[in-house]
């Protein structure tokens, strides 16, 4: 067990070393290093911002601003936190700023699905379901939505998500449980969530 932990610590250390090296290259204007970071993180940051805001244009603005801040920070980067944690913290703060002042979150846009094999009525039904889920997510409180987005959609471990939110793992777990309960309630009003169905086990 101790050996596993040591291997894990060593892997985490080498990841930080690589991040420091990449950020040093970014600060020196190395385009290849910038492309590596964008390819690695843009999609997930954009996806997180979209889950938080429910608006693709706003999510793009948040993703862009997050990376601009990363470029500005590159020359004085210190590996206090993992790069991923830093990026999600910045993106989350930007999302919170945008959510302030909104009385409710309405999901106007959903990405197009490219699935020609589905008939018109099935397509309509699926669109309705997508909107119901997006609306239910939008009606969660910001902290519950953040917790669910990070753990469920971004695939973060409980410790990583708690780090991003700067809370204890117990508090994260409580947010997740309450968030899922609220989602279930919202979705049951739109469409009953079948109990005991194992068919839908596949995630993401």
């Amino acid at each position: 067990m101790h050996m596993v932990a040591t291997a894990d610590e060593s892997s985490s250390e080498s990841q930080r070393d690589e991040e420091v090296e990449l950020m040093g290259r970014v600060a020196g204007g190395d385009g290849a290093a910038c492309r590596i970071l964008v390819d690695r993180h843009l999609r997930s940051i954009m996806s997180f911002a979209y889950r938080m805001l429910g608006d693709i244009t706003e999510a793009e603005d948040v993703a862009q601003e997050t990376f601009l801040r990363l470029w500005k920070t590159a020359s004085r980067w210190e590996p206090k936190a993992k790069l991923t944690t830093w990026l999600y913290r910045v993106a989350r703060n930007l999302c919170v700023d945008r959510l302030r002042g909104r009385r409710e979150l309405l999901v106007h846009q959903l990405p197009e699905r490219a699935d020609p094999g589905v008939g018109a009525s099935a397509e309509l039904e699926r669109n309705e379901r997508d909107h119901a889920i997006a609306r239910a997510l939008g009606e969660l409180g910001e902290r519950q939505r953040t917790a669910i987005s990070l753990v469920y959609y971004q695939g973060m471990s409980n410790r990583e998500a708690a780090d991003v939110m700067e809370i204890q793992v117990d508090a994260l777990e409580s947010l997740l449980a309450r968030g899922r309960r609220n989602l279930r309630k919202q979705l049951e009003q739109a469409e009953p969530v079948s109990k005991g169905s194992a068919e839908t086990e596949t995630r993401r």
């Binding site: 990405p111 005991g196 194992a198 995630r203």
Partner: protein, 155 residues
């Protein structure tokens, strides 16, 4: 994303219910230090299986939401704003020349200026110098006065 080490905490049915309540039915999302014990409980407890399946129904709905893809334009904007490499002196001069003369290659105005300088120097060397004495107003006055008319002695 999930890649932490396990150190094996014991999970009873209450804790199992709390885990699936928070993290859903996918063992990959469960806390790493409780995963093995939770999976072992799943093997022997029908109640645990029922709790897992209830959570799976909600997971299925949540997982159905389509993904978003960042546009090429967004990626381009981000990369264009990235730090640029430090310029060498020759690159800096080229940049200044570009600002001063944005109409074409900088050798054109530089050649024109050089040609004008050469022409100026050549003209300066070739044209004979005019003596400053010829134009001296004092001398002219002396000449005008030295007619002897006013200075001749009376007969």
């Amino acid at each position: 994303m999930r890649s932490e080490s396990s150190n094996g905490k014991k999970v009873d049915l209450d804790r199992f219910a709390a885990i699936v309540d928070a993290y859903g039915a996918d063992p990959a999302a469960w806390p790493i230090d409780e995963r093995d014990s939770a999976l072992a409980l799943l093997e022997v407890s029908e109640q645990a299986v029922r709790l897992r399946d209830e959570a799976a129904a909600l997971d299925g709905l949540l997982g159905d939401l389509p993904e978003v893809e960042p546009s090429v334009a967004l990626r381009t904007r981000i990369l264009e704003a990235a730090p640029q490499p430090a310029r060498t002196w020759s690159e800096r001069w080229a940049r200044i020349a570009e600002v001063v003369w944005p109409f074409g290659p900088s050798w054109q105005p530089v050649s024109a200026l050089a040609a004008a300088a050469v022409l100026g120097i050549t003209v300066g060397l070739v044209v004979p110098d005019v003596s400053p004495v010829d134009n001296d107003p004092t001398v002219v006055a002396e000449v005008a006065l030295d007619t002897g008319e006013y200075w001749s002695e009376a007969p």
